[in-house]
Amino acid sequence: MLALQKRKIAKGFGLISTLFSLSMTSTAYAGLAMNDLPGRNQTWMVACQKLPMHASATGYSKTVGFLNYKDHVKIKKLSVKYELPPSQKVEAPENDDPTAINIVPSLYAWAQVNGPSGKKGFVPVSCLVNGRLANGKYEDPSDIAKQTVSLSAETIKQTVSSRGFSRKEKGDRVAMRGMSPTDPIADCSAEMIESNAKATVSSRGFSRKEKGDRVAMRGMSSSGSDGICIKEDYQGLEDYIKKVPFVTDSYNEDLAFRQEGGLGEFK
């Protein structure tokens, strides 16, 4: 019985590996709505809340109209081709194999579309979805926070860990980034939070902590090796985001800012 079970598993292993690879391949199309590449004359759905249409394939060109969430658009032309970076390509089967095929999908950043009113313009492909995504529960924007939590709490936690955060098994989340193996794990005591606040650089100039020779944690950072208390606050973040003005037309909203700074179309 056990042998049969193992044979079954072994047989399934190839299929599973294939599925796994395919899944990895599909995630490589990450610049878009995961997996799907738009084609000419296809109809896609707008999945950004309010989407400006531009005169050409750059955000620095004039806004010629707006599309709304769930508007359907017909793809006329794709522009601004790019490739994903090496870390996101799928290599098969081994790194040292000279015959390995690197699957690097060519993607497009912009699409010229016909909107519902027949108006033509360029929109970023990253705001378009099709197929199941266009009809599925995952692109339903109602109550984002609540649905996120229910979506997959466990996998979200795993994802959080991967970003350099981790959790104590029993207790609050703590930051791991920047901590050496010998660093104590920070806890979320009031003192810790207070100390984080105090660590804020309040004076001019480069003033990162010089405690230890380790600097730079993930990406851009200036702080030293102290852990940062990590404590979840879904409601707090939701409340904060609600107060951030939603700029629907950044081309016009920030026109003076770009002009003053010699940026974008004014560079």
Binding site: Q5, C48, L133, Y138, T155
Partner: protein, 328 residues
């Protein structure tokens, strides 16, 4: 007890991995160490109990695969959900937040949007969202365009161009979809684990638990940090910012001298694929950049059309920065 021990071990390992990978001074050694440790951990891995059955019933391959597909395809809304949770997971740790109406919050938002207009993801479901908190000086970005900036960053950068460099780097992570990619990778590995588990002898096939923790490093690793720098340089140039601003911040963080960076002509080939990125997008025909984040930053500028030396930041933009951030 055993599971808890394993989990703590894994958490420590992630800690080591994070610390090693993001120590910019000797990242390749850190990465090697991390890989070795991960391999050891995989060998010792115990099976996980993470969802190999739902309600005690083992699921079929296709059922698992279907769920995998459902959970990994994401559009702008799905990405925002993912990013929201990533930021919310640590948001409570910051006792003080800067108001979205604070001039510095508005300023960061304007820079973000200016950069975004020249990028591949000018808009997200509800726009690029700056989240400013009081903290030592880290910046991070999550799917959906949520960019969290600790106020200490204003002590690290000295000009708008440098601030734009940091923000462009974070934006590049979102553009390159690092967190979605990371999420999908984890989901894939988790499904793999569930599919391959042998119910009669789980110890023989439970290593995907460790594998998917290793695979998460595909989402955020030294390599992706370097790729984010490269992408950031392209975005900065397109927006009209001085790309050397980013390299200067890198130099400040790593303690290196930007003037000591040597030009790398064209170091093609070599077996160190993992350590040297090439600029060709994977064809292997581009120049290979040296190890070291600063050297790579400067060489990326040189190899992508310059300028050959730092032209200095725009005085107008620097004056704007001083006025908004420091009231000067």
């Amino acid at each position: 007890m055993k599971k808890s021990k394993y989990a703590i071990g894994l958490a420590s390992l992630l800690c080591v991995a994070s610390a090693s990978a993001f120590n910019l001074g000797n990242f390749s050694k850190g990465l090697e160490d991390m890989q070795k440790q991960m391999q050891q951990q995989m060998q010792q891995a115990q099976p996980s109990n993470s969802g190999n059955s739902r309600g005690g019933k083992k699921r079929g391959i296709f059922e698992i695969a279907q769920e995998l597909e459902e959970n990994t395809k994401r559009g702008p809304v799905g990405r925002l959900r993912l990013g929201f949770d990533q930021i919310a997971a640590g948001f409570g740790g910051f006792s003080k937040k800067l108001s979205p109406e604070d001039p510095r919050s508005i300023y960061v938002g304007r820079i973000l949007r200016t950069l975004a207009l020249g990028g591949r993801m000018p808009y997200t479901y509800q726009g690029w969202t700056p989240i400013l908190v009081e903290g030592p000086g880290d910046a991070s970005a999550a799917a959906g365009g949520l960019v969290q900036v600790q106020s200490g960053i204003f002590g690290l950068v000295e000009t708008e161009d440098e601030l734009a460099g940091v923000l462009a780097h974070e934006m590049a992570h979102v553009e390159l979809d690092a967190s979605s990619y990371d999420f999908a990778t984890k989901m894939s590995a988790k499904a793999f684990d569930e599919m391959t588990e042998d119910p009669k002898n789980p110890n023989t096939m439970g290593s995907a638990q460790a594998a998917y923790n290793f695979s998460t490093m595909r989402g955020f690793s030294t390599r992706t940090e370097l790729e984010a720098d490269e992408r950031a340089i392209a975005v900065l140039k397109k927006a009209g910012y001085n790309p050397y601003g980013l390299c200067r911040v890198v130099a400040r963080v790593t303690g290196e001298d930007i003037n000591s960076v040597e030009r790398v002509a064209n170091l093609l080939g070599g077996s160190n694929r993992g350590d040297s990125l090439d600029s060709s997008g994977g064809t292997g025909n581009g120049p290979r950049y040296p190890n070291g984040r600063l050297a790579r930053c400067v060489n990326t500028i040189w190899h992508t059309g310059g300028p050959d030396s730092d032209p200095g930041d725009s005085p107008k933009r620097t004056a704007r920065y001083n006025k908004i951030v420091w009231n000067q």
